[in-house]
């Protein structure tokens, strides 16, 4: 049991964005999170990653209660996330965006940053090497010194995903990573994700509207509607589920 959500709720004024939601995710699972617009998917991500404070319920990660933790704490514990609209650091290059991400960088402390002893310099070099390897894998290595804002939309999504991966998360929350991305980049992304899932036991929870993609990569799908969980099962089960069909058709 890597992630457990129990009775999680969040309301904004009178609207229940997430309503008594509960589910478990096990290590190495690839789980899709779908539902009509406004069903609470991104809100759920914000709750898990600590961006929003919940109005009830609990979140457990690696058997620890992370319900009221700050975003940086949640990240340190091993959850990474991407955003629907990419949030890159606009005044940094592609490489810099990546090397900012890893945790436990000695040079990020005042004293070590000032002194920059050999250990810090070595760590910098190791991180840069790792970042370049990752850029190689996703096919962005030729752009390493480009400003992050000069990248195309699809490249930016790849970069954001790469940056998240640099934090070596155990669980990654992907918010519509394929929206607006061309087929070449899409298949590259899927390839990378599958590889990480296989080789590094990366657990993936992915919000996606493109049914074809979700149904093909996810082994399990959770469906939300109006903040409530209305279905949870294999892609085949979900496609046949009457509630799900109604949710999407009967607006």
């Amino acid at each position: 049991m890597l992630l457990r959500i129990e009775g999680l709720s969040k309301h904004f004024g009178g609207i229940k964005a997430v309503d008594d939601c509960s589910f478990d995710i096990c290590r190495k699972q690839i789980v899709g999170l779908i539902g009509p617009n406004g069903s609470g998917k991104t809100t759920l991500f914000n709750l898990i990653s600590g961006v929003y404070a919940s109005d009830g319920g609990k979140i457990y990660f690696k058997d620890m209660d992370i319900t009221h933790r700050e975003p940086y704490e949640v990240s340190t514990m091993g959850i990474g996330r991407t955003f629907q609209l990419t949030r890159l650091f606009p005044n940094m290059t592609v490489l810099e965006n990546l090397i900012t991400a890893p945790k436990n960088q000695g040079g990020e402390g005042v004293l070590l940053g000032l002194l920059r002893p050999t250990s810090v310099r070595k760590q910098e070099n190791d991180i840069k090497e790792k970042a370049r390897e990752l850029l190689q894998v996703v096919g962005l290595i030729h752009l390493e010194n480009e400003s992050a804002t000069n990248l195309s939309y699809g490249q930016q999504k790849l970069l954001e995903l790469s940056r998240t991966l640099m934090t070596e998360p155990d669980l990654i929350l992907l918010d519509e990573p394929f929206a607006g991305v061309n087929p070449v980049v899409t298949s590259k992304l899927i390839e990378v994700l599958n590889e990480l899932n296989e080789e590094r036991d990366l657990t993936i929870l992915i919000i996606e509207h493109i049914m074809k993609i979700v149904m093909s990569i996810a082994e399990r799908i959770i469906v939300l509607n109006h903040g409530k969980k209305i279905a949870d099962g294999s892609p085949r089960d979900i496609q046949a589920n009457a509630n799900v069909i109604e949710a999407y058709l009967g607006v």
Binding site: E70, S75, P90, G106, G113, E124, S152
Partner: protein, 302 residues
């Protein structure tokens, strides 16, 4: 022997030095971390008064220096708690409030600070070495400036600086990759307060007199203007900004403007510059955004 350099020129260099310390500290907060530190003048004042009061009570220069660095730093540590609870521009207001409160205290608690009457301060003596002439003052100023500049420049060029920039550019993104942005913001406030306090100590011993009059909002806007002029997050540019800002009144004086009016005109020019720089920067960003939108065409083309 030595070439005779007019002491007036030395004076200008000295003023540039400690203004530069202030500007670089301000830049650390505003340019690199996105925090407009309007309380800097308070830290400067606290440093100056620490030195003055230490001197009054017979303590040597170095004690005053230590006090003038640590006490403002501690205040910076404290003010971070309320100030960082709010968004960037409101941070400006809260820190401005702190500066105002400190000013009022200085102005009114005459038993401690002699308010407008001020405290006289002697010349520094460091391990028997007397600082009592323009060249020696300049030397001390250069040493303090070098320490400040090297420290801050090294810091912003290191991974630490990366986290600051990430915090400035997208704090949410920085926190979801595990950076404790609050801690970093508090730290830069403390560092800026420390160096501003040191500048204050130097100021007290150089002008030999400390009263409440310099520690106003106009002081902060002048420092801020030099930083913005030189380009935020660019300490070399900041130096040029400071030099420009300080030489400007001298240029005005050439045109026989009366000395009080020089101050007002300088401020008017600073105000106009702030407005212009904001307009130019925004125009540049708008141009870049149009370029970004063009790259969205990839989505449609593919």
């Amino acid at each position: 022997m030595m070439i005779v350099i007019p002491s007036y020129l030395l004076h200008i260099l000295i003023v540039i030095c400690f203004y530069f310390i202030l500007a670089v500290s301000f830049n650390l907060c505003m340019g690199y971390t996105g925090l407009p530190l309007f309380s800097q003048v308070a830290f400067f004042a606290l440093g100056a008064y620490s030195a003055a009061i230490a001197y009054e009570n017979g303590y040597p220069f170095l004690v005053g220096l230590l006090l003038g660095a640590l006490f403002p730093a501690f205040c910076g540590f404290l003010i971070a708690y309320p100030a960082l609870r709010v968004r960037g521009d409101y941070f400006a207001i809260v820190t401005m409030g702190f500066a105002e409160i400190i000013y009022d205290v200085i102005h009114n608690e005459v038993w401690l600070t002699r308010g407008p009457y001020g405290i006289s301060v002697g010349q520094p003596v460091i391990f028997g070495f007397k600082v009592d002439s323009y060249p020696t003052y300049l030397l001390l100023a250069i040493i303090l400036t070098a320490i400040t500049f090297v420290t801050i420049q090294r810091l912003v060029g290191s991974p630490y600086g990366r986290v600051l920039k990430a915090t400035r550019d997208d704090e949410l993104a920085a926190s979801v990759i595990g950076k404790n942005t609050w801690k970093y913001k508090q730290q830069v406030i403390i560092i800026a307060a420390l160096f501003s306090g040191i500048a204050g100590v130097y100021f007290a011993h150089y002008t030999r007199f400390v009263n409440d009059s310099p520690f106003t909002l106009a002081f902060t806007t002048t420092v801020m203007a030099s930083v913005i002029l030189g380009g935020l997050a660019n300490n070399y540019g900041t130096f040029i900004g400071v030099a420009l800002m300080l030489s400007f009144p001298e240029v005005l004086r050439v045109f026989i403007v009366t000395s009080e009016n020089v101050g007002y005109i300088q401020q008017i020019v600073i105000g106009a510059m702030l407005i212009s720089v904001m307009l130019i920067r925004t125009k540049r960003i708008t141009v870049r955004k149009h370029a970004e939108r063009r790259s969205m065409k990839d989505v449609i083309e593919n």
